[in-house]
């Protein structure tokens, strides 16, 4: 797939009504606990965070600013250096025949975005010849490295070719290493046995599996809705997966259209990444590297991975942008 799903949230439009959070809870079968006021232990994918410029409660009346920020898994991708840069197969062949160890860290695709090889392959002569036979002219790779994926000891979480970070509840052993790694506190652990009492059971969504106690769960951009839409298209005879369009539950639920969703790679999409990157009003959460001097940025990115999230926040209020993007001006 050549999709890269992403989101843009216009905080000027958000009224903090919480509809997105409720929709998310319902769509993804969130359990209800006896004491859900225990916020740090609550299981939720989408957290409506109250953000204020008055952390120490020292500001005077009239100076205090407050905003509500819906925060879900930001579907980080890491630096993903060299991704989506097509390399002619001829070049790969020359290097392989020359005895060089040609190693692609990410998933290999051909020019039509068909997946050819899984990540971390070292190319051999046979493989290159095989690709030639298939008529492949050039290859590129995609090497998303979210902070939380490589750390999982049992591969319970992975990143798909549409950039969505998945999580398999029933594979997770509950070590919480991924929670430790996530800079956005986007993962929730089931500290208690999840309960679905009485009539509540009838409203459960059959497309999302129920979690058990002791496993980590997270937002997957409602990838089950994507599957539902895909099946509908397939039933109509459409086989091109790139044609599947969908909206996660929070996006559909927002009454003011503050959350929009789409393909970050598509110039026609309202969340076209290149446009958002140049938008004065847009920031990404705790990602001040976006605003750094280009030379410094280049130097640092060569040295260290950055989360590179796929969710953008838009606001015309400077204080809010400053506090969202990092720690320097807050």
């Amino acid at each position: 797939m050549n999709k890269k799903w992403g989101m843009a949230i216009d905080l000027d439009k958000c009224t903090g009504c919480g509809a997105c959070q409720v929709a998310c809870m319902q769509e993804n079968n969130m359990p209800i606990f006896k004491d859900d006021s225990d916020l740090p232990k609550r299981v939720t994918f989408l957290d409506l965070m109250k953000v204020t410029n008055d952390k120490d409660a020292k500001k005077k009346y009239g100076e205090v600013q407050v905003a509500f920020v819906p925060k879900m898994c930001q579907q980080c991708e890491g630096n993903n250096l060299g991704a989506h840069q097509p390399i002619p197969l001829e070049t790969v062949k020359k290097r392989v025949l020359g005895g060089e160890k040609v190693f692609f860290p990410g998933i290999t695709y051909d020019e039509q975005d068909n997946m050819l090889y899984k990540p971390e392959v070292v190319y051999t002569k046979d493989m290159v010849e095989d690709l030639e036979k298939k008529g492949v002219k050039s290859v590129y790779f995609d090497n998303s490295q979210p902070p939380c994926v490589s750390v999982c000891p049992v591969v319970a979480t992975d990143v798909g070719d549409d950039g969505v970070v998945s999580q398999v509840w029933s594979r997770c052993i509950g070590c919480r290493y991924c929670q430790t790694a996530c800079p956005y506190e986007a993962r929730a652990f089931n500290w208690w046995n999840p309960r679905y009492e009485g009539d509540f059971k009838k409203s459960l969504n059959p497309d999302v599996s129920l979690s058990s106690r002791g496993a980590v769960v997270k937002c997957t951009f409602c990838s089950h809705i994507w599957k539902r839409e895909r099946d509908k298209l397939l039933a109509k005879g459409e086989k091109d997966l790139n044609k599947v369009k969908y909206n996660p539950a929070c996006v559909s639920a927002c009454p003011t259209n503050a959350i929009i969703f789409g393909d970050l790679n598509d110039p026609e999409s309202p969340v076209y990444a290149k446009k958002l990157n140049n938008d004065e009003r847009a920031v990404r959460l705790v990602h001040s590297i976006d605003k750094a001097d280009p030379k410094v940025r280049e130097k640092w990115i060569a040295k260290k991975n950055y989360p590179n999230p796929k969710v953008y926040y838009l606001s015309s209020q400077k204080w809010l942008r400053d506090i969202l993007v990092g720690f320097k001006n807050s």
Binding site: S150, V155, T180, A181, P183, N305, S330
Partner: protein, 412 residues
């Protein structure tokens, strides 16, 4: 049945009053451990003070501490069997036993720590490997390496019961013990090899790779942890039998062996302290600024600057007290040096875990705090009590201290 009860009674009556009190306290702790263990395993981790932000707590600190201190086992074995530092011989059995227990209880604590203990075997069946034999996740590496090293420790431990005078009389066991002993250098080599990896991964690499967390991200954390384990672990391996000999009021290990290992520890602390200072320096000048934060801000929480300073002070003390012969030769200074070596390890682990988790992820959040619940405390304390009991049992019934037995032999 009757004779068993009679035997237990006689055994109990043969103990001194102090031993009886110690045993009561330890057994009490073990009983509480059992009760809270059942609560945690059956009703979940909700009973701990960990949460979605402070995702790990006192048990992981215990794991890190036990593995680092237990690391003294591999290093002493390495010095004795590979470098033939023979004056360590009287200490080695005790060292192996402590190492064995440290690793055993690391596993036990890990089982409590993970939310799905029944799925723990997934670590072996669905490991997160990368290319060839390179594990991708530090925890995969930890699981495999700990398991293998634990097997090595088991093999190293077997000769101790085999040397028991009853068992030793049976020719088969006598020869088995003999040949196992001769194989020990291979075990020591394999153990050292494995230890280097998991000391690095569990102790440091596990935190150093978290690129999204400015308090931890540092490429050198892996190696730092190895150096710390060799330095602090040897202190621990010297201190423990020393305390045991004081309690038993017998010279179980000659003073020269204590001195030898203490010197090694002091020597390793020179490396550790310089390395740690280098890591702190590069954290503050390179890695934390790369995440657009300032190091001193990260030290602002409840577990900040004071903890780091204490760690550095405790790492500096052994260098003076254990390396300068004038001090080392005086028992009290040597013991002070050893204690501070162990404390250096403890404070390092406390600082890494507590400070790392307490750092706010968002600019509008304050620092987090963590206050372990009674369940967490007693599972931890119970584990330590079990270790003490096992060691006491070995010290009483097994030839743990060959030096002591040799002496008894001579006297007889």
């Amino acid at each position: 049945m009757k004779s068993a009860i009679e035997f237990c009674k006689n055994e109990w009556n043969s103990y001194t009053r102090k031993t009886k009190i110690a045993l009561c306290v330890l057994l009490g702790l073990v009983a509480l451990f059992a009760i809270f263990a059942i609560q945690i395993l059956f009703w979940g981790l909700g009973y701990t003070d960990m949460n979605n932000v402070f995702a790990m707590g006192i048990w992981i600190i215990g794991d890190l501490g036990l593995v680092a201190l237990g690391g003294g086992a591999f290093f002493s074995g390495f010095l004795l069997y590979i470098f033939r530092k023979d004056d360590l011989e009287p200490l080695i059995n005790s060292t192996v036993l402590i190492g064995f227990m440290c690793y055993l209880f690391t596993f036990i604590l890990l089982v409590f720590d993970i939310g799905q203990p029944l799925r723990a075997w997934f670590g072996y069946t669905y490991p997160n490997w990368g290319l060839h034999l390179m594990p991708k996740s530090m925890l995969t590496e930890v699981v495999w390496c700990l398991t293998l090293y634990f097997c090595v420790l088991c093999v190293e431990l077997i000769p101790i019961p085999l040397k028991h005078k009853v068992v030793d009389k049976i020719p088969f066991f006598h020869y088995l013990g003999h040949y196992l002993h001769r194989l020990m250098w291979i075990m020591a080599a394999v153990g050292t090899f494995l230890s280097f990896f998991h000391q690095g991964s569990l102790g440091g690499g596990m935190w150093g790779v978290l690129y999204g967390k400015p308090g931890w991200f540092h490429p050198h954390f892996f190696f730092l942890a190895i150096v710390l384990a060799t330095a602090g672990g040897t202190s621990f391996m010297t201190l423990w039998p020393y305390v045991a000999s004081k309690i038993m009021k017998k010279e179980i290990v000659p003073m020269s062996s204590f001195q030898a290992l203490a010197k090694v520890s002091g020597f390793m602390f020179i490396f550790y302290l310089s390395y740690r200072i280098f890591v702190v320096y590069t954290l503050s000048t390179v890695y934390v600024p790369m995440a657009d934060r300032s190091f001193i801000d990260l030290l602002g929480g409840y577990y900040g600057l004071w903890m780091l300073s204490l760690e550095l002070i405790f790492s500096a003390i052994p260098i003076v007290l254990l390396l300068v012969p004038k001090f080392r030769e005086q028992e009290k200074f040597m013991v002070a040096g050893l204690i501070s070596g162990v404390l250096a390890v403890l404070f390092h682990k406390l600082f890494v875990v507590l400070n790392g988790f307490s750092i706010p992820n968002f600019a509008w959040r304050p620092f987090m705090g963590y206050n372990p619940t009674i369940q967490e405390w007693f599972v931890m304390a119970g584990a330590l009590a079990c270790m003490a009991l096992i060691y006491m049992w070995f010290a009483k019934y097994m030839p743990l201290f060959p030096h002591l037995h040799k002496h008894e032999h001579h006297e007889a």
